[in-house]
Subunit: 219 residues, 2 copies
């Protein structure tokens, strides 16, 4: 099933950054925040912040700003993060380890409950307090209660084979950091993170700057 | 300076995935590829692939498809990757290590030439063949030839201070993996990678599916 396109992608991808800031402000004892403050922090236009926040369904209180607690609740609700999302991580290399150490996941209700790898040097070891299991035990370990999400942090060459096994287990949401397009049956959602995507964006910006500099040299 | 918004962000972010596939096909001895093949691989609409490819400026040859060598050249040129981009990496933790081990960077002309960290346990050690330098030596080591790009892989709490030092060194492009909005002066570009952004997208998709399932239960 090719689903309906998700609108508001850039806004959705900004939500964790708002959330990070709001959680930090709350820890600092603040109770309200204005959209102007958020726009300055995010370095984006005020109107964009207002639209982002409106997506969550919160009603703004123009004069006193938004109640931080409320806004956190609305953002989490918008992202479906008010519930706990269970996950398994495949690939305990450096990227996998980085994700295991990503502190904010706790605030997002995202819990990586198991870790698998095929490398005998890693199997049985602990990474950030979690035991690494043999990938060949994934079926027996997860078949009775497959998690909501599987995170793929294996090499591009191994990713498709891993995805096939996850799909066979009934896992419906795959968050993949492999730089390949995974082939999955209808009903399975793959969220692909292309790490080099940011580098592509930077490359285009640098090129625009160079072209601009060259251009003004002839003024 | 708040620059003009870069259009085509999703297309630009897809480019590394096309490139990965094309480089692989070339290694397999293939010489041409059709937009249909690419659409099937990417699991996106044909029209989207055609638009993506048109952005690079290549002229299509409908019957025989695109020449793979040519298409690689056009994509690299579009992304400004035909030149070498020099970089320094700040933060040699697991995410930094993952980036150092990202094989495709070589194909993209992206070279991380130096690595810095503040952790005495890491300074002087080698990570993936590169010596980790003391962050406090960054000014003396880079002042004569600052790299094009600095990659920030330090904690959110430390990121702003690191950014200030990079800006003082004259580095104009920052690729930041810290989950904070960095404040930089006009003329400096920050490309922020919000790792949790993909999780936000997944959360919204899961919520849509749940709402849909609930909806159909009443049909």
């Amino acid at each position: 099933m090719r689903r309906g396109k998700i609108l508001n992608t850039p806004a959705i991808r900004r939500m964790p950054t708002y959330l990070h800031k709001l959680l930090k402000m709350r820890l600092e004892g603040k109770v309200s925040v204005s959209s102007t403050e958020l726009a300055e922090y995010m370095n984006i236009e005020l109107i964009v912040v207002r639209k982002d926040i409106a997506l969550t369904g919160i009603s703004g209180q123009r004069r006193v700003g938004y109640d931080i607690n409320e806004l956190i609740k609305y953002i989490k609700n918008y992202l479906g993060w008010q519930n706990t999302i269970s996950a398994t991580l495949i690939g305990a290399g450096s990227l996998g380890s980085a994700l295991l150490g990503y502190d904010d996941f706790n605030h997002y209700g995202f819990g990586i409950e198991s870790v698998f790898d095929s490398d005998p040097a890693k199997i049985g070891k602990e990474i950030r307090g979690r035991e690494v299991f043999d990938i060949d035990s994934i079926e027996s370990r997860l078949k009775n209660a497959p998690p909501d999400v599987a995170v793929i942090c294996v090499s591009s060459a191994a990713a498709q084979q891993v995805a096939d096994r996850l799909v066979a287990l009934g896992i419906k949401y795959i968050w993949s950091f492999a730089n390949v397009a995974l082939q999955v049956p209808p009903g399975v959602v793959v969220q692909r993170e292309v790490i080099a995507g940011g580098l592509a964006m930077l490359g285009v910006r640098m090129k625009l700057d160079r072209d601009h500099d060259t251009g003004t040299a002839f003024d």
